[in-house]
């Protein structure tokens, strides 16, 4: 449970917050162990994975590109916002970069809260905002040979503007 407090281009580690960009498979057990806390009554972990089929298109793999130092800062800002809105005792975010095969996790959001309602709400908030705000882009490699950058449905929010969530 004791980790050095670090902030660099790929991670933030404080006592209550752990954010990492990783190039290997996301370790779910490690995230759950980080979240365990005697003040917590409920943990919620969301794990985003790659669907093989989107309509008729078969995805062979995804790859993620990232503006790393800003992504880490933005995820930290979102986590701190969640910690201010809900009484979270811990939160962690993992995002994988590079190539991700189908069914493997590309993102993990984990929160620990005294009660379950808060855990669900904060976890949902974090994944929704991360998908809007974190400067990370996904490229799908389809079975028919196409390589396609996935474009988000809406641009990220600017500071001070309504977030529309």
């Amino acid at each position: 449970m004791t980790r050095p407090r670090t902030t660099d281009d790929a991670r933030v580690e404080t006592g209550r917050l752990s954010i990492r960009l990783v190039h290997e498979p996301i370790d779910v057990a490690e995230a759950a162990a980080f979240l365990a806390d005697p003040r917590a009554g409920g943990l919620d972990l969301f794990i985003g994975t790659t669907r093989r089929w989107t309509g008729d298109a078969e995805t062979l793999e995804l790859s993620y590109e990232c503006y790393a130092p800003m992504a880490v800062k933005e995820m930290r800002r979102l986590a701190e916002e969640a910690m201010a809105r809900w009484p979270l005792v811990r939160a962690c975010i993992r995002h994988r970069l590079g190539t991700v095969p189908p069914a493997e996790a590309s993102v993990l959001i984990g929160v620990a809260a005294p009660h379950r309602a808060e855990a669900f709400e904060a976890c949902r908030f974090l994944i929704d905002r991360l998908k809007r705000q974190a400067p990370i882009w996904k490229r799908e490699a389809y079975a028919d040979g196409r390589l396609e950058w996935v474009q988000g449905e809406r641009p990220p929010d600017l500071p001070g503007l309504d977030t529309g969530s």
């Binding site: 993620y64 503006y67 994944i127 991360l130 882009w137 996904k138 641009p155 990220p156 600017l158």
Partner: protein, 90 residues
């Protein structure tokens, strides 16, 4: 692209990602602008040199020194400005 600093000019470092990187054929560039200059001035200038940017202009957001910032933001010498098309992480 103008790499010379003239009197009353400022230079910013521009970062480009994903589809826009591919369309513009460039992932980083240094741009010199007449001071004072805003994010919008930078985008106008980039659009002139890289017409591929035009189609993305309505959905591009700027990040100045790794934080989202409106196009009205005044730029300063040495700023790192990223062009952020709609993101698709997660």
């Amino acid at each position: 692209m103008n790499d010379e600093t003239t009197n009353g000019a400022l230079r910013v470092r521009v970062l480009v990602f994903s589809i826009l990187r591919e369309k513009m054929g460039c992932d980083a560039l240094t741009v010199a602008l007449d001071a004072p200059a805003t994010g919008a001035d930078l985008l106008d200038r980039l659009e002139r040199d890289h017409p591929a940017l035009r189609a993305f202009r309505p959905v591009v957001r700027l990040a100045v020194n790794q934080t989202y910032a409106p196009e009205t933001t005044a730029l300063a010498e040495g700023d790192e400005v990223a062009l952020i098309t709609p993101v698709s992480g997660g």
